[in-house]
Structure formats: C-alpha cells, structure tokens
C-alpha cells in the first residue's frame, strides 16, 4: 500500500549555510496518527516546510501518497493541509475571509466553500468572531482560525506544527476530539508538539528527531513502554543531561 508520506534522505541547508535537516527518512502509512518530536531547532518545522512547499529541499525525495512533492507539487499539495506554528495570516482579514480564500486556492467553488466554512466555523466555535479582523482575536481564537484554514480542503494528510501551543485546555480538548474523529475517518495526521502527554494520548507511532536526524522511531508502546515513559525515552534520545533522565 502506498504510504501517505514517504521521505527519503531529506537534507536541507539554508542559504546562510545552516544545516537544518541532515538526513531524515520517514514512511507514514495511510490512516496513521504520527507524532514527530524533537527539541527546538531539531529540524521538525523545516522538514514540514519541505513537505508542504514552504521550503525547497536541498536533496532527498518526498512523496505524498506516491506523488513527488517537488516535481508534481500541485497534485501533491491538493492532498495536504498545513497548520503552521506561526500565524502566517493577513491580520486585517476576517476569519471567514481567511478560510474562504484558502478554499478558493484549493479550487473549491463558492457552494463547496460555504458549506465547508460554515461547518468549520461552527466546529471551532468561531461564529461570534467570524467577522472580526484576525488581529483583534485572542491567541486561542487565532489558533482556531489557522486550524480551520488547514482543514478547509478536507485534506487526506494533515500536518499540524504545534497546533496547541498557547491554547487553553478547552480548545485543546476540542481539537483532540476532532483529530481523533477525522483520524478514525481515515485521515493521516502528522503532529509535532512539545506536550508529550498530547502525543501519548493521540499518536500510535512516534519519531524523535535531533540535530536534523531521526534518532528514535517506533510505535508509541515501544518507545513509551520503558521506565519513565515517553518523556524518559525522549530525553535519552535527544541526549539530555543524565540528571534530567528518570532513574539516572
């Protein structure tokens, strides 16, 4: 079966000479809920940027459902939804406009967009805020808008780069419920997060990246099964100081 996402020997060197991704290979089957962990600057966001077209890979191969994400980028991008870490949004636009424009970019006609936007705006409790300017919203509401935007095209592969950073418990729960639901419905999800309990709760498979390389990969049970759980495995894999690691 064709994997939802296949990355082979991805390397990314920025123009400044910084090597952000040294050598990353990943194969995520369709329907997987995949946790992508690592410390700040490990290469998670750069890998995601290379998958989605925000960054140009220096070398290596990325395939989305078997489609080359560089050579056939338009076909590949139709299948992906990205919720980025930063709010890369026109601050003067309203949530409704932001989601609507994204739907338009993905080729959805007006009727399809309205139907989908109505659903997402309601699902993420944005109805009272849908006509406010984005800059007027609180951090949590902004996050909801960016999530709704990522999901407007009903993507088969959903990439969430720290989607719950800075949001309240309520939204976190709403989001967890929604992600679990769409994952059950067959959507593949790649999630990065610094909240390990979130990854433990949602993901079935985990990869830990450090200094641009995958340093540990396996099922959640394999990785979190040892003493100290996922946190301990994460600290060991990322080379944390021994006194930070449980039992040492």
């Amino acid at each position: 079966m064709t994997p939802a996402l296949s990355i082979s020997h991805l390397r990314k060197v920025y123009r400044s000479g910084t090597v952000a991704v040294e050598d990353v290979s990943l194969h995520i089957p369709e329907g997987e809920f995949f946790g992508f962990l690592g410390p700040n600057g490990a290469g998670k966001s750069t890998t995601i940027h290379c998958i989605t077209g925000v960054a140009e890979p220096t070398s290596g191969k990325i395939e989305i459902f078997g489609i080359d994400a560089v050579k056939n980028y338009r076909e590949a991008r139709r299948l992906v939804g990205l919720c980025p870490q930063e709010f890369n949004v026109d601050p003067f636009a309203t949530p409704r406009q932001i989601v609507d424009w994204m739907g338009g970019y993905f080729g959805m006609n007006a009727k399809q967009r309205k139907e989908r936007i109505d659903y997402l705006i309601e699902r993420f409790d944005l109805i009272p805020h849908q006509k406010k300017q984005f800059r007027e919203l609180s951090g949590g509401l902004k996050r909801r808008v960016v999530l709704a935007r990522a999901l407007v095209n009903d993507p088969k592969l959903i990439i969430l780069d720290e989607p719950t950073a800075g949001v309240d418990v309520e939204l976190r729960r709403v989001l967890w419920r929604y992600l679990t639901e769409i994952n059950k419905d067959g959507r593949t999800i790649l999630l990065t997060s610094h909240y390990l309990e979130e990854v433990e709760r949602l993901c079935r498979h985990v990869a830990i990246v450090n200094k641009g390389r995958i340093v540990r990969e396996g099922t959640k049970d394999e990785i979190a099964g040892g003493p100290g759980g996922l946190e301990n495995a994460y600290l060991i894999a990322t080379g944390a100081e021994p006194d930070h690691v449980a039992g040492q």
Binding site: Y73, V80, N88, V89, F92, Y105, F106, N109, E115, D154
Partner: protein
C-alpha cells in the same frame, strides 16, 4: 460534502484559485481606496488645474494641441506606472513580511497562476486609475481618444511591465526603505524627464539622446499618440520595445518564482 482529494488526476488550470487571488487582492485594495484611487485622481486634478488654467494659457500650442491636451496623456501614464508598481510591490512585500504568502505556496497553484493572479489585479488597479483621469480630462474638454485599441494596449502593457517590476522589487526588498527606493530614484525622475511636459524637439540637441534612451519616453509618447494622435517616434518602435520588455520581465519573474527567490526558505 466537499471531497478535495481526487488522487492521481493531473490538474488543469486552477481557475478558481486564480480568481481567488484576484478577489483577495481586490478586497485588500478596497480597504485602501484613498491610497489606491483618490490620491492619484486628486493629483491629476491638480495637474489639470495648473497646466490647464495657470500655466497652459501662457504656452503656445504644441503640434497643434493645447498644452493641457499635450500634457494630460503623460500625467495619465505617470499615474498608471505608479499605481501598477505600488500595487505589485506592496502586495508581494506585505505578503512576504507577514508570511501569508505561504498560503499560496502550500496550495495547488502553479507559478504562472501566481504571477497572473498578481499581475491581473495590477492591471485592474492601473486601468481604474487611468479611466478616472481620462474621464476628468474629458470632463474638462482636455482630451480625446484617437485610437481605443492603442489606448488599451498602452494601459494594459505598461501596467503589466510595472507590475512585473513591482513583483521583482517586492521579492527583492528586505525592508520598507528598499521597497520605496525605486520610486524615489527611478520611477519619479525618469517619468518626469520622459517627455510628460515637453517634446524632444524642445530639448537641446546634446540632450535628445537622453530622452530616446529613457524607456518612459516610449510609454508616454505611445499613449499620447493613442489619445491625441501626437507621436514623436517611428511607427511600431514603442510597441516593439514594450513587447520585448514584457517578454524579458515576464521570463525573469517566472524564473524568480520557480526558484522560490524571496518566497521559499
């Protein structure tokens, strides 16, 4: 229910995506009507007043035309150039600065679609600006259109040329200061000395070559020919030059997009 995941079907032109880019920029433009339209119209109105009623009466006719008739096409072209350049450069730079350009990068839009989407709004803004000035000129009995096809050609082609240049500057700029540099050092001076206020025959011999070397001269002279029939260049020279410029800049912009210059990390 929307299902956008049609696998393995090659994409044709993303017409809805293209239209969305235009719709989005039009909505952005609608947020700044004073900057986009009212400012150039007021400036043109002041030019009409000064050259029509203050200075114009003291200057004899040029090529059988009143001075205001001679000057107005140049004023119109200057405003088209400014509108086109500012629309393209600020739209591209602002989208990079705030990073919402990433919305387009992650979407199934080709580079050509992205470029057409940006440039078409540029042409719309420049055309609306130009038509406003044309109507003002007509209302004061100061202009006419000798050739509508040529008038449309000059409005569309010159706004596209400066749309491309605006995109290049918008991609290159790393600050608002850099974004404004071309306007201050090139656009305003070159358009002022590009034959808006005088014919080349009015210049001393040693200075004429400068007018002929100034690309703005061909744009101003071209639209003047379309509006009042006064043309100082051999037939086809300005059109040929503009078409070559369009092709060169079009390829340049496409290369920058396909390389991700200023867009992708």
């Amino acid at each position: 229910m929307w299902r956008g995941n049609k696998m393995n079907q090659p994409m044709g032109t993303n017409w809805i995506g293209l239209y969305t880019m235009m719709r989005r920029e039009a909505q952005r433009m609608a947020r700044i009507p004073i900057q986009a339209f009212v400012a150039p119209w007021i400036s043109a109105l002041l030019f009409i007043f000064i050259f029509g009623f203050v200075v114009g009466g003291r200057i004899s006719q040029i090529g059988g035309h009143k001075y205001l008739e001679f000057v107005l096409p140049g004023i119109l072209m200057m405003n088209i150039i400014n509108a086109a350049f500012l629309q393209a450069s600020t739209a591209v730079y602002f989208s990079r600065f705030i990073k919402f350009v990433e919305e387009m990068l992650v979407a199934p839009l080709s580079y050509v679609e992205m470029i057409i989407g940006s440039v078409s709004v540029v042409v719309v803004r420049a055309t609306v600006t130009g038509i406003g000035i044309l109507l003002m000129g007509m209302a004061f009995g100061a202009t006419q259109i000798v050739s509508w096809p040529l008038f449309i050609f000059w409005v569309v082609s010159v706004s596209t040329v400066f749309g491309f240049l605006g995109i290049i500057i918008g991609l290159w700029s790393k600050s608002f200061e850099q974004l404004n540099m071309p306007v201050v050092f090139f656009l305003t001076p070159l358009s002022m000395v590009g034959g808006v206020f005088n014919t080349t025959a009015m210049l001393p011999d040693w200075l004429r070559w400068l007018a002929w070397a100034n690309p703005f001269f061909y744009f101003i002279n071209g639209i003047r020919g379309a509006m009042i029939g006064f043309d100082e260049t051999p037939p086809g020279l300005g059109i040929g030059f503009t078409l070559v410029l369009l092709a060169v800049l079009g390829v340049w912009v496409w290369r920058l997009y396909s390389k991700g210059y200023g867009l992708r990390e």
